[in-house]
């Protein structure tokens, strides 16, 4: 479980270069609402999530609400993976 968040943390800090110190990126830090992550970075994150976790966002799922914190993103990825297996 922690694996998804670890990978995400690495991506957000080292690839997207979000303006945060590692210790400031908590599981519930609000990325979009607190304007840490802009919309372009959000779209880059969507592409990263699709590739890394083999999931696919529907157009209506590309929203700030689904990407706002490590907890939220992890839950979204898990839910997508479960529904992909069930299908």
């Amino acid at each position: 479980m922690a694996q998804i968040k670890d990978q995400l943390r690495e991506y957000l800090l080292n690839e997207l270069n979000l303006p945060l110190q590692p210790e400031e990126l908590q599981d519930d830090t609000l990325l979009v609402s607190d304007r840490i992550m802009d919309s372009i970075s959000s779209l880059m994150l969507v592409e990263y999530l699709e590739k890394t976790f083999n999931i696919s966002f529907e157009p209506h799922e590309v929203t700030a609400e689904n990407l706002d914190s490590l907890n939220i993103i992890e839950a979204f990825v898990n839910q997508k993976q479960v529904s992909a297996k069930a299908a």
Partner: protein
């Protein structure tokens, strides 16, 4: 880290490209002409200048961003036709690169060879009469159709190469409310397959070889496989293309500035500089120092891009520093050389051509905004 010393391969690239530009391209260019130089465009295609960054499998040169920068710097130095250099760079960086990065295999196989070898001319259609800096607040719509395709409707403006373009990379809102966050889609539009029209070239201050004009979509039907990336992800396509343009287009300006400084040195050495000679020498030396600094910054950013590291701040800084220096230096050189430059059209033309460099690919204020955001400001 990039070593800053050009490798043997890079030196060879610069030398052979310089020879091609001087001997084969320049004779076909007239920097004072106000028409698109079709013959020179086709000639440039023989060396795939329009596809410098495109892999060889798709008919390009297969250079990474660092080598693209060096190649465009060479073009900027040896070709005095800054408008032609701009037409090539805009086509390559804002159109051909996003087709390569986001097109389907089918689309790439069909379009990249012609976009690289001079058979096709492309234009980027983003800006609209009511949306420039706030580009994603566009009014042109892309209505999703039941067939899976889209219907585009609306007007674009200030599109470089548009009046002569065969292909457009165009952006339209599939969901205007959502703007960049899922509401913009990027398309490849082909004049032979899709109905759109373009306006006559606008009268402008410089860059005469690169016609600038409007694009009109009137219920234009576009099939789904012409989408670049995915529906709603057009902001990503645009930003990637701007990252390339901001990182590499300024290389032509660097080449242009070095050419002017070299000419200035010759002019001063060959004439009696008079009582102000030392002051002028000092001023030229200071511009050279500033150029060396922004050039190294440009190399560092192009190198970053070649390492496939997203670095919006680096791209914005490189673009900001080069274009601001370009505009200031071209004015200052005309001033400090007095009547000596007046007889050489290159100084005057470059001054007019440099005017728009702080506007296209995002104005200087927009670059500062990107930099501020990257440091949490």
């Amino acid at each position: 880290m990039y070593s800053f010393a050009p490798s043997e391969k890079q030196q060879h690239l610069q030398v052979s490209l310089a020879e091609f530009i001087r001997q084969e391209l320049v004779p076909l260019l007239d920097p004072d002409a106000k028409a698109f130089p079709f013959e020179a465009w086709v000639k440039a295609g023989e060396q795939q200048l329009q596809g410098l960054a495109i892999p060889e499998t798709y008919g390009g040169c297969g250079l990474d961003a660092m080598d693209v920068f060096l190649a465009l710097e060479t073009l900027g130095y040896h070709s005095e036709d800054n408008g032609f250099n701009f037409a090539i760079s805009a086509h390559l960086l804002a159109c051909t690169v996003p087709v390569w990065l986001f097109g389907t295999e089918e689309l790439k196989a069909e379009y990249l060879p012609g976009l690289s070898n001079g058979a096709r001319i492309a234009a980027n259609a983003m800006t609209e009469p009511a949306s420039g800096s706030n580009a994603f607040r566009m009014q042109t719509t892309a209505l999703p159709l039941e067939s899976g395709g889209f219907m585009l409707h609306g007007n674009k403006c200030f599109s470089s190469n548009a009046p002569v373009a065969d292909v457009l990379v165009a952006y339209a809102a599939n969901d205007p409310e959502r703007a960049h966050m899922g509401g913009i889609t990027a398309f490849l539009i082909d004049r032979k397959k899709h109905s759109f029209s373009t306006g006559t070239p606008l009268e402008k201050a410089g860059l005469h070889a690169c016609p600038l004009g409007d694009v009109f979509f009137d219920r234009t039907q576009v099939e789904a496989h012409f989408v670049l990336g995915k529906m709603g992800r057009g902001a990503l396509v645009f930003n990637r293309s701007m990252e390339w343009e901001r990182s590499c287009l300024g290389a032509t300006h660097i080449g242009n500035m070095q050419r002017l400084l070299d000419k200035a040195a010759k002019l001063i050495n060959n004439t009696d500089a008079g009582a102000f000679g030392e002051a002028v020498r000092q001023e030229i030396a200071y511009w050279q120092a500033q150029l060396d600094a922004v050039r190294i910054n440009g190399y560092a950013q192009a190198w970053q891009l070649s390492q496939k590291k997203a670095n919006p701040r680096g791209a914005a800084s490189s673009k900001l520093l080069i274009s601001e220096l370009y505009k200031k230096m071209t004015v200052a050189l005309c001033n400090c050389l007095g009547e000596k430059q007046y007889l050489d059209g290159d100084f005057n033309r470059s001054q007019a051509d440099a005017l728009s460099s702080t506007i296209y690919s995002g104005t200087s204020e927009i670059q500062k905004q990107i930099i501020a955001q990257s440091i949490g400001l």
